[in-house]
């Protein structure tokens, strides 16, 4: 016989609100639906209920009973996030979880109780479910039975968790009113005329007679009343993204208050990702603006991370670069999950970088400098010294054993000057024997521009000049390079790589040998 657990959040709108704003638990709090004075109480916490506030009262009536009442409207974003968090808690215990919405989920717990070694394994399973939900800020109740209806009803009973032994579902259901079976209006009227008031009364009726009088729907309802629920669990698909967000009580126009409320949402998001063993590879932020409209922006991460500080920094930088342009009245974060990078530790080789730390560091460097200034360099085909490309930094795993370092090559490298420094160069007269030959530079002077103060100053008489070395590259492209290179040592010191652009005749320094 199948065993099904129902995990349920009583007063779901209130539980979802308190998960997003836990500091409100010390206040008399109600969640209302509707606008202005017509708003009606949907749920209230213990302090509000002790003041006599009940669901259905209007907000002015509730305030008359409790002047210090804090009212919050129902928030779809909070409820969606709370529901997702509840499903994730359930998925930690069972791979087959059905999402029924409104703070309720069913789990297929066949065989799961074997992981619990106590006298009553199913009771221990229920307690573990409640503890896991409470760790996520969700005050859950649990019922375990052989049918969905019985499990749901058991979850609504006091002294949670409640376990209904197999075959005793009908006894649990018997005293409940017939309305709990949610019969169709016409069928409910018929049963009313028959004098059937409770589920137990209905279950006592002969099955064949019920089927002949009420049809197939009546037969199914009768089976449910006897504790036989033919509806199977419909497992949910794994979610494509994790959502967290909320509707704000008042519009926000500045960045800092928004980041303050965002941090709490990102912390909840990171906690959920961590509980699933996942990290965020792409973060989408949807802002709801006043008076209407919304704006969506996405932040791609160089590697999966769930570091809240990094995510918040990226959000800050994105909002600073592209302000929303209108007051924000609500927001939603959607984190696209990915498996965090794993690394195999080596016993004898050099230590590998922690993938999680590396991902966080890269994201922070991206935020600080921009993606075009961080990466692993690569050689690009061609001859121009300033060429380069950057690729994503994914270092290969370190060798299994420590190697001896390679002997140094003792080569002289050049510092590339990006962009090249413009120069004024005086050249020698061409030799009479070779009038077409390029004349060597004899003196170098800087070209004064606004930017020249910030560039290396290259000035002086030439001591030795070696060249010219022709370079022709990319003649087929829009920016061809046609240059004559010279290695030049100045009398004041310094060894430079100069070139003359053959097309324009201008001189530049594009490297310093160092």
């Amino acid at each position: 016989m199948d065993r099904i657990a129902c995990i349920s959040l009583p007063l779901f709108p209130l539980a979802a609100r308190l998960r997003s704003e836990p500091e409100l638990s010390r206040e008399a709090l109600v969640v209302v639906e509707g606008n202005g004075n017509a708003a009606r109480v949907v749920a209230g916490n213990r302090l509000a209920r002790s003041a006599g506030i009940k669901p259905g009262l209007t907000l002015p009536q509730a305030r008359a009973l409790c002047p210090k009442l804090v009212a919050r409207s129902r928030d779809e974003e909070c409820e969606r996030a709370a529901q997702e968090a509840l499903l994730e808690v359930a998925e930690r215990f069972s791979p087959r979880v059905e999402d029924t919405g409104e703070g309720t989920a069913f789990l297929d717990v066949n065989g799961i109780e074997r992981h619990f070694k106590g006298d009553s394994p199913e009771l221990d399973l229920g307690r573990s479910l409640i503890a896991a939900a409470e760790a996520e800020g969700l005050p859950a109740r649990v019922g375990i039975a052989s049918s969905k209806l019985a499990a749901r009803i058991a979850a609504g009973l006091p002294d949670s968790p409640v376990v209904v032994p197999p075959g005793q579902e009908a006894e649990i259901l018997a005293p409940l009113p017939l309305a709990r079976l949610s019969p169709e209006v016409e069928m409910a009227e018929t049963l009313e005329r028959w004098g059937v008031r409770s589920i137990g009364d209905f279950a006592k009726l002969p099955q064949a007679r019920v089927a002949s009088r009420l049809g197939s729907r009546g037969r199914d309802l009768h089976a449910t009343a006897r504790g036989i629920d033919p509806r199977p669990i419909i497992p949910r698909e794994p979610p494509p993204a994790f959502h967290e967000g909320m509707t704000l009580e008042w519009p926000l126009v500045s960045l800092e208050p928004f980041l303050f409320v965002s941090r709490a949402a990102l912390e909840r998001l990171a906690q959920r990702l961590e509980s699933c063993g996942l990290a965020c590879i792409r973060l989408e932020l949807t802002l709801r603006l006043e008076p209407e409209g919304h704006q969506t922006r996405s932040i791609d991460l160089p590697a999966p991370t769930r570091d809240v500080k990094t995510l918040l920094t990226l959000v800050r930088l994105d909002l600073e670069a592209r302000p929303p342009g209108a007051p924000v009245v609500g927001f939603t974060f959607a984190a696209q999950p990915d498996r965090p990078r794993e690394a195999q530790l080596s016993l004898y080789g050099p230590a590998a970088l922690s993938p999680d730390k590396l991902a966080t560091t890269l994201a922070r460097l991206f935020a600080l400098l921009g993606p075009d200034r961080v990466g692993s360099p690569r050689v690009v085909d061609g001859h121009q010294p300033e060429r380069f490309s950057l690729v994503e930094f994914t270092p290969p795993p370190p060798p299994e054993v420590r190697r001896a370092p390679r002997a140094g090559r003792g080569l002289l490298a050049a510092r590339v000057l990006r962009p090249p420094v413009a120069l004024e160069v005086l050249t020698d007269e061409p030799a009479p024997a070779a009038p077409t030959e390029e004349a060597p530079p004899v003196e170098v002077r800087p070209v004064t521009t606004e930017e020249s103060e910030k560039r290396p100053k290259i000035e002086g008489a030439v001591k030795v000049a070696s060249g010219p070395w022709g370079l022709e590259d990319g003649w087929w492209s829009e920016a061809p390079a046609d240059r004559d290179y010279w290695d030049v040592e100045l009398t004041a010191g310094g060894l430079y790589r100069l070139y003359r652009d053959r097309a324009t005749g201008e001189w530049f320094a594009d490297g310093i040998y160092d």
Binding site: P350, A351, A352, L353, S354, K357, L358, T360, T361, R364, L365, L368, L369, R373, V374, G375, S376, P377, R378, V379, H383, P385, E386, R387, F388, S389, P395, P398, P399, R402, R403, P405, R406, G408, R409, G410, L411, L412, A413, A414, V416, R418, A431, A433, A434, E437, E453, P456, V464, A465, S466, W469, D487, E489, G493, L495, G511, I512, Y513, D514
Partner: protein, 295 residues
């Protein structure tokens, strides 16, 4: 309120068996100190032993630049900031790249914080840098460079090289507190931090300061033949080191790099008049005898 000092006892406690003898005066001072401070008071010998133990546990990172390895007792000490000072054409940048090449050749991951945006990946590869294990960070000023270096140290990179480029340095010298913070970060994470700068910047934060000086360019050719760059000769000198006296130096020889074949240079020009040539060559450095691998 200040904690009252205890009186120094008359009798001296015996040293623990197996441990090196502790001076009696130190024993007495220690016994008078509160419990939590006793272990923090060390004699010079104890401190030296502790530091040696640390070095044995974390061997230095070999740079494969003989001069640097000799002056630093085997390589870059892990958890310390080493500053290499050198002007233009002093061999500083080539030395930094060689250190990166050595670190990546043993499988370590390394990072270059390149404030001057001066790296030529082709040249780095020619020097032996494993580009897959190198993270290149191109900040735009010193503040960003220091922040980036601290992040990289925190991520666990074995070697972080911070090159400030050719003067003028964007962002000036920075404040000493920033360098101290960087050195402390390197110490706590065990990363080797090598800073290349045109002038001293790290103040008291550096464990060792070396200076590349007296560079001399080596040329081939002359006497009618075209001049070819042969390399560079400089000396690396100790300015500050725990175990070495300032002024100790080692020679640094760098050979010009081979490049892809390019068209041959033009034919040699007719030799200058004898007296002119003599004058010019007297002013120029001695031509390099060994064949340099110049393009």
């Amino acid at each position: 309120m200040a904690r009252p000092w205890r009186e120094i006892p008359e009798s001296e406690p015996e040293p623990e068996s197996g441990a090196a003898p502790v001076p009696a005066a130190l024993q007495r001072v220690r016994s008078a100190l509160p419990e939590e401070l006793r272990s923090r008071l060390r004699s010079a010998r104890e401190l030296d032993r502790t530091l040696r133990d640390e070095e044995e546990e974390h061997p230095p990172l070999v740079t494969a630049v003989p001069a640097l390895d000799r002056l630093l007792d085997g390589g870059l000490p892990r958890g310390h900031l080493v500053e290499l000072v050198g002007g233009r054409t002093s061999g500083r940048f080539s030395t930094l790249l060689s250190a990166l090449a050595a670190a990546t050749s043993i499988g370590e991951t390394a990072a270059l914080v390149d404030l001057g945006d001066a790296l030529d990946p082709a040249a780095a590869a020619a020097l032996g840098v494993d580009l897959e294990r190198l993270l290149w960070v191109r900040p735009t000023d010193l503040k960003e460079a220091l922040g980036s270096a601290e992040m990289l140290i925190g991520a666990g990179f074995a070697l972080v090289v911070l090159d400030l480029g050719a003067p003028p340095v964007r962002g000036g010298r920075g404040v000493e507190a920033g360098w101290l913070r960087l050195a402390r970060s390197a110490r706590s994470h065990g990363s080797a931090l090598l800073v290349g700068s045109p002038y001293r910047v790290s103040g008291t934060a550096a464990s060792a300061v070396l200076k590349a000086s007296r560079p001399r360019t080596l040329w081939q050719g002359g006497a009618g033949a075209p001049w070819l760059l042969g390399g560079l000769s400089a000396r690396i000198e100790v300015e500050k080191h725990r175990r070495r006296l300032p002024g100790q130096s080692e020679g640094l020889e760098l050979t010009a790099m081979e490049a892809p074949p390019l068209p041959a240079p033009p034919a040699p020009r007719p030799a200058a008049p004898a007296e002119e040539r003599t004058e010019r060559e007297a002013a120029w450095p001695t031509p390099l005898r060994a064949a340099g691998g110049r393009r």
